[in-house]
């Protein structure tokens, strides 16, 4: 087993290093063959492990690789950090999803990047990403989790800036890295808190202590404000998740990350890396169950993200940005599920979302290739005629996204809405309203884009129209392979996941937070549950969304102008992304650099160097200039000085005796 696990993790790494260092020598063909072979083997192995857990043949287990470091004597409360794997149903699900989507993206890349001079470099990066993401999900301890966490951030940084000549790309990648670092600060403090409370970095040891009951610590912010240690830990870890999973207000990097090539938007910025935060919270469910404050916080943030990012999707005109805001909004849904303690459903939505969102991104990429790198949906139209496969697969993806009964997205999203409705937490009502209204907007922006791209009149120029055709099989085959799970995957996994049979002890839910148990009956038969879905309100909201999209794009497109002129001020707020970017860039970033410049000018150069260092040098020069005059050579001068000195000395002795 350990060998299998090592192969899953290391094959992509080895392929990445070989292609990264010898890519020129290997040439394009061998570069993609090597990386695809490595990821394919990893996919087969990971899927077999996931199936093993699905059948109940495999049991959760920890595998230790090596000792990273040890501090103090273990007998006297010392701590040992051991790198290794914790493999259970939760991990294996993530491994299967990550490797499968990665494999699809690898294949797709052959077509998408075929004319790019950085072809080998790209394959090296995405293989490296696969390695980093796998270490993140397979980790058995917090240190390795943090390693994977930052390593996927590094690869994301490299890939957003893949086209390093583009000023927007290298702006976006720095922004992504720094915003993530803000989250990581919270994450790191959370880990520090874990060590403070539990004295360990190992998951199983920490979870065992939670089970046995543990001594919480107080973290004093001021003398009056004292936080509970466990709440501090959960909120800290969740702030990390807010960075990685792009939750408001740390979401600003994700739309800009679309500057990177489309395959990585699918792999990293939709299907896998951005869901790392969701995975992490689910992994840490024993901890989060201990803090209702944190759960309420999560509900607030998730609900806000789900709804308010959905609004932004409606006004985007760049095909990739529409999908990006949709991703933000769906991540909000997953986070709401976490806040409602429906961790299993969050992972469920993560998995279905990985398939249909990767599909939507790759379909968008297919459109972009066909349109000669035109991304503005206002310049498209009626593409169904030219790209039939992309059209059908996009339709499947969109229907899954908006939660149409029978499509995989329906089962997971419906589960979230029902679970948050069951939650007793204070913030649950707010989150419930957000996710409910979000359904309408999801349908609206999805089908607005769908209609503008595939229906309506042909608005592209003649040259583009003449060359419009479906891209080659390396592009369309991944679309088809992703469309299948987007439709059917939930039919097989919905019941075991929701009933708790599949995740078992990997996810812990306190009895008072159990929002999933009431849903078990519903999920027992996927067909009847889908029929049930035709009744409640979310379905009608989605239908309404499609209708509105249809009215404003197909039926009466001129109404958009009218609407725009009526509520222009809202449009302004939305177009400016609620002014987050302006505040961050103009005030926080520029303020930081300005502060540094002032510190440097006034304190370092002015006070320390100008006055103290160079000033004392000048003073010494001035004094010695004066003192030199004393050495006049005249005897009476010296005698005079000696007398004064003697008097001074006597005065000092006299004063000393007086004092004593």
């Amino acid at each position: 087993m350990l060998n299998q696990l090592l192969a899953i993790v290391l094959l992509p790494l080895i392929a990445s290093v070989i292609v990264g260092l010898c890519g020129q020598f290997l040439g394009r063909q061998w570069s993609h063959r090597l990386t695809i072979a490595a990821v394919a083997v990893a996919t087969v192995l990971a899927t077999s492990i996931a199936i093993g857990f699905y059948n109940g043949q495999l049991k959760p287990a920890e595998y230790v690789l090596y000792n990273w470091g040890q501090f103090g004597d273990l007998a006297k409360g010392g701590v040992k950090i051991e790198v290794g794997f914790l493999i259970d149903s939760l991990t294996s699900t993530m491994m299967a999803v990550v490797t499968f989507v990665s494999l699809m993206v690898h294949i797709y890349t052959i077509g998408y990047m075929k004319e790019d001079p950085g072809y080998q470099r790209f394959f090296s990066y995405i293989s490296l990403f696969t390695f980093a993401m796998l270490t993140l999900v397979m980790s058995n301890n917090f240190l390795q989790l943090f390693f994977g966490w930052e390593a996927v951030g590094l690869v994301s940084y490299l890939l957003i800036g893949f086209w390093y000549k583009k000023p927007t790309a290298i702006f976006a990648n720095l922004k992504a890295f720094l915003v993530n670092r803000v989250g990581d600060l919270g994450f790191l403090l959370g880990i520090a808190g874990v060590y403070y409370i539990f004295g360990s970095f190992n998951y199983l040891e920490v979870f065992e202590q939670v089970k046995q009951g543990f001594a919480n610590v107080d973290i004093a912010v001021t003398d009056e404000v004292v936080w509970s240690g466990i709440t501090f830990v959960c909120i800290g870890l969740f702030i990390g998740a807010m960075g990685k999973s792009a939750q408001v207000p740390l979401h600003v990097w994700l739309p800009d990350s679309m500057e990177g090539p489309t395959p990585i938007s699918a792999l990293i910025h939709a299907a896998t890396m951005v869901t790392a935060g969701v995975f992490m919270v689910a992994r840490m469910s024993p901890l989060f169950e201990q803090s209702e404050v944190a759960l309420n916080f999560i509900l607030m943030i998730g609900g806000t993200t789900a709804l308010f990012m959905g609004f932004l999707g409606v006004i985007q005109n760049d095909i990739k940005r529409v999908v990006a805001y949709s991703t933000l909004s769906q991540l909000g849904y997953m986070v709401v599920a976490l806040g409602a303690s429906a961790y299993s459903i969050a992972i469920f939505h993560l998995a279905t979302h990985a398939f249909f969102k990767a599909l939507l991104f790759l379909a968008a990429g297919s459109v972009i290739i066909a349109m000669h790198h035109e991304q503005d949906i206002r310049k498209m139209g009626n593409l169904k005629k030219y790209l039939p496969i992309t059209y059908i697969t996009s339709l499947i993806g969109s229907l899954a996204l908006i939660g149409t009964p029978f499509f995989s997205g329906y089962y997971s999203k419906e589960g979230i809405i029902l679970a948050v409705n069951n939650s007793q937490l204070a913030a649950a009502d707010y989150a419930y309203i957000c996710v409910l209204i979000g359904v309408f907007f999801t349908a609206l922006y999805s089908f607005r884009m769908f209609f503008l791209v595939f229906h309506t009149s042909e608005r592209m120029d003649q040259h583009t129209r003449d060359h419009l055709k479906e891209p080659s099989a390396v592009v369309t085959v991944p679309l088809i392979l992703l469309a299948i799970p987007s439709l059917v995957v939930a039919w097989f996994i919905a019941d075991p996941i929701v009933s708790g049979r599949y995740f078992g002890d990997a996810i812990v839910v306190a009895a008072s937070h159990d929002t999933v148990a009431p849903l078990i009956d519903l999920y027992q038969d996927w067909f009847s549950f889908a029929m049930h879905g035709l009744a409640p309100s979310p379905f009608y909201l989605a239908i309404a969304g499609i209708m509105v999209a249809w009215i404003f794009t197909v039926w009466k497109p001129e109404w958009r102008e009218t609407l725009n002129s009526r509520i222009g001020f809202i449009g302004n707020i939305l177009r400016n992304n609620y002014y987050f970017d302006k505040i961050y860039i103009n005030y926080i970033t520029a303020g930081g650099v300005g502060l540094g410049a002032r510190f440097w000018k006034w304190i370092d150069a002015g006070l320390i160097d100008g006055i103290i260092v160079n000033g004392s040098a000048k003073t010494v020069a001035a004094i010695s200039g004066q003192v030199r005059k004393i050495q006049s050579g005249y005897l009476y001068h010296y005698v005079f000085v000696m007398v004064i000195g003697l008097l001074a000395f006597l005065a000092w002795v006299y004063w000393r005796t007086l004092m004593n």
Binding site: W68, V79, Y195
Partner: protein, 511 residues
Amino acid sequence: MIEKLPILSLLIWLPVFGALVVLFITGEKHRFISQWISLVSAVATLLLSLWAWSTFDSSRYYLQFVEDQSWITSLNIRYSLGVDGFSLPLIALTSLMTVIVIISSWNNIKIRSAHYLAAFLMMGGLMNGVFAATDAILFYVFWEAMLVPMFLIIGIWGGPNRIYATLKFFIYTFFGSVFLLIGLIYLGLEAKSFDIFAMHSMVLPLDTQELLFFAFLIAFAVKVPMWPVHTWLPDAHVEAPTGGSVILAAIMLKMGTYGFVRFMLPIVPDASMAMADLMIILSLIAVVYIGFVALAQRDMKKLVAYSSIAHMGFVTLGLFISFALIDKGSIPTAIMGIQGALIQVISHGFISGAMFLCIGVLYDRIHSREIADYGGVVNTMPKFAMFFMLFAMANAGLPGTSGFVGEFLVIIASLQVSFWIAVLAGLTLILAAGYTLWMYKRVVFGEVANEKVAQLKDLKLREYIVLIVLAALVLAFGFYPAPLLELMQPSVEHLIDCNLVSKLSPEGMCS
């Protein structure tokens, strides 16, 4: 046979002897000979230090490879050497960086190239002496002597403003050293011995400890350097030639932290404990304030110099939070903090050295350190860009690089002392990434900025070698710091168990 060799003396005098030989082989036509003699003696020193590491018994705290000869008998000053878990890694680091500097400056120096190499060799030997000396006066002699080659390196081969920089450097450090000497003489007379370890078991009243504390502080804080006595460093770095910057950042700064561990903490623990809050505040100023200052730099070398100061803040932070942790009874966490500080010392040697070498690679080609003179370097130097990326990320403390280990351990440990220490220290995550990657973006990414960048040639073999070695070390210690941690562990435990106990009375002190 080899077991009988006075290995520490060899580590000191072999490079010094090599330097003396090279000094007499001047002239262009002998250039080749002087280069190879320098390289051979530096490599031999490195191999000796690695051999010492491999035979070092890392399960014990006490001194090994001990040598002891009488030197100035009338004053009871001895030529005594020995290493423990604190000094051995530093000796290995010094020997390694000397080789790196000699390879990297192979052909780069146009005037007096033999003397240049000789200066580095000599400095390498003397710095090994600082770390190996166990007699306080011997220590002080090496401590001062090693300044001379550095003074010459900056003063002769430095940039246009080198005279100001050398004087500032020399006066700053010399000013500090004088207090150190007074303190050491006082301690030697009291203990009737200049053996540093005899000083560790002296009983000293608190007011004496406080005076000694400030004497040590001035000397060592200048070297680290700690805010506000740090302003010599950016000037010295900017004017120093590449090799000078590498040694300055990689080794010389470590003298200060070594002084804290070897002298200040064990000899005056009560005063150190009383002053711990002050030291923690100064450390946090280094991390946060200097981090902001680094953000505003337009000169690459200045930027890395300021980033060095910020990173060294973690060393002093890790050392001085240990008192509060011991007080709370969390010994493993105190060990974690001190280990983190010491790992940071070694790691910063690799990373800052590599950063200055990378800047040197660019400077050799374009003769500018201004960020604004670059842009789009990746287009013409893709392989260089890859290495520079790795070191920039290490400088930003990315996990998987050695730069992460020390900062991680110190931040983890500091939360148990105070929420605010952890938060402020943690700001480095954002600041270090900000200043390093912003510089990287402006220098490396983008379209080719100007004609000079368009003419750039990628790395030469020589440059490859040094960068590969450092990259391998940065990654190795990032993924697997355990060997280094194990080497230092007994010495750290000894420091906590025996040296950080109160020296106000003989009670409770280890025998």
